[in-house]
């Protein structure tokens, strides 16, 4: 049964950047896109489980800091080797200046 979780303030993430959010033993990456939208994926790269928090956000892509694997963080699609498996994505809403994710 999924539920909405208050993850962070909308102003805590710069545009074209991400932050890490940990909850009950799971870890997520929350993104702020260049056009002001928010997105959420699993926090670990599907290649070798490196956390994406230190990665580079370029437009709608996140690049893993270890091997430069790239994903579309809106859909989770793996765009560049060595990642071959897509990231899981989660619904996001912004209410009262807070970012909520459904997990």
């Amino acid at each position: 049964m999924s539920q909405w979780i208050d993850a962070c303030g909308a102003d805590e993430i710069d545009e074209e950047d991400l932050i890490r959010f940990d909850h009950k033993g799971r870890t997520f990456a929350i993104y702020h896109s260049p056009d002001g939208e928010f997105f959420c994926t699993d926090g670990l790269c599907t290649h070798e489980q490196v956390h994406l928090e230190d990665g580079l956000v370029m437009e709608y892509e996140i690049e893993c800091p270890k091997h430069n694997a790239t994903f579309d963080y809106r859909t989770g699609e793996a765009l560049r080797a060595p990642a071959c498996v897509n990231l899981n994505t989660y619904k996001v809403k912004v209410e009262g200046g807070r970012v909520w994710i459904e997990i």
Partner: protein, 356 residues
């Protein structure tokens, strides 16, 4: 004294996984996120400029070499062309493989394919091998790109200045793959679904080489091979000269790049050929930073790194005695002092390392 098994399917690799050295957490110097984002920022400009210069020089040197052929006056132009083909393409292969040279992914991919062909490195196989090199840098039995194993194969290293082993192995592997086979070592790090691509590329390359050889036979001259194929031999020396400096003589089986990688200040021409990979500790610690930002990254973190060697000559003055000593005592390696401003090496791994 420990005997090492550097194969990807051997006992050392198995043990590295068992003790947690494989895919481990590595030391990173602290850099504020804001500064890191600035350093990681991609652009096409520097790599387009360098690529135009590179290809213009290659075309120019080859044209003069062909015009003067078969006179010995053509030799200097072939040597210059060869270094760009057999050495500069090594760094282009490397940077474009990381996807950091250009901002535009297609540009990285195009240059990566050309550079892979020049270096006789299957672009699929070597993308995965290099990913492993970054996951498990100089971890015995895990890193498939260790150049100076222990005891060091000095004859092999010297011969590789002329591409003797690396290039011939590349061509032999190309024929092996073109026959529809994947070597068991390759299969240990290339996912199953990528393996058909290895075979497809190898077959395309065999067709290209067959065309060049047919042209050479038809002309009754090695001239076509002077332009395609042989430069991998006569131009290899610079990439081996700079490549050996990256890790030789330093620690194995550690998770701190300051212990197993080397930064060396080198001349501007070599930096162009090598695309700034002389900042090698910095590159391994932060592989997201493009080659043209590595000097800035170096300036930002040098307080936390061992002092760089000040020249290629100084680096080799440090490396050669260590390699010679490793011939007799292969557990020996060099640990460089850190400046007072640095965080200390991770003591838990010091304790696990063999004594000097």
């Amino acid at each position: 004294m420990t005997t090492r098994d550097y194969s990807m399917t051997g006992e050392d690799g198995r043990r590295a996984v068992e003790v947690g050295l494989a895919a481990a957490q590595w030391y990173h110097t602290d850099i504020p996120r804001k500064d890191m984002k600035e350093l990681m920022k991609r652009s096409d400009g520097p790599a387009i400029r360098d690529t135009v210069i590179l290809f213009a020089c290659m075309i120019g040197f080859a044209a003069i070499g062909i015009a003067l052929w078969p006179s010995w006056w053509s030799a200097p132009f072939w040597l210059a062309y060869g270094v760009l083909y057999g050495s500069a393409m090594d760094s282009r292969w490397h940077e474009c493989g990381h996807g950091t040279a250009f901002r535009t992914r297609a540009y990285n991919d195009w240059l990566y394919q050309i550079a892979s062909f020049c270096m006789v490195r299957n672009p699929v196989t070597w993308r995965w091998s290099h990913a492993r090199h970054h996951t498990d840098t100089i971890i015995v039995g895990r890193d498939p790109e260790i150049v100076a194993m222990r005891p060091p194969a000095l004859f092999r290293i010297v011969m590789n200045f002329f591409g003797i082993f690396d290039a011939w192995n590349g061509w032999a592997r190309m024929l092996y793959n073109a026959s529809g086979r994947i070597h068991p070592e390759e299969a240990s790090y290339i996912p199953d679904h990528e393996q058909p691509k290895v075979i497809r590329v190898a077959r395309i390359w065999v067709a290209i080489y067959a065309g060049v050889i047919a042209l050479a036979v038809g002309m009754g001259s090695i001239l076509p091979l002077m332009a395609i194929g042989l430069p991998r031999l006569y131009g290899a020396w610079h990439h081996v000269l700079t490549g050996v400096m990256q890790h030789a003589g330093l620690a194995e089986n550690v998770t701190d790049h300051r212990l197993n990688s080397r930064t060396v200040y080198i001349n501007p021409v070599s930096r162009f050929i090598y695309w700034n990979m002389n900042y090698h500790v910095e590159h391994h610690m932060f592989p997201m930073v493009p080659y043209h930002r590595l000097p800035a990254l170096h300036a930002a973190i040098k307080h936390d790194l061992p002092a760089p060697n000040r020249s290629i000559r100084e680096a080799y003055a440090e490396i050669i005695p260590v390699l010679r000593r490793q011939l007799a005592y292969e557990d020996y390696f060099l640990t460089r002092d850190l400046p007072a401003t640095a965080k200390p090496y991770r003591e838990e791994f010091h304790a696990a390392m063999p004594a000097e």
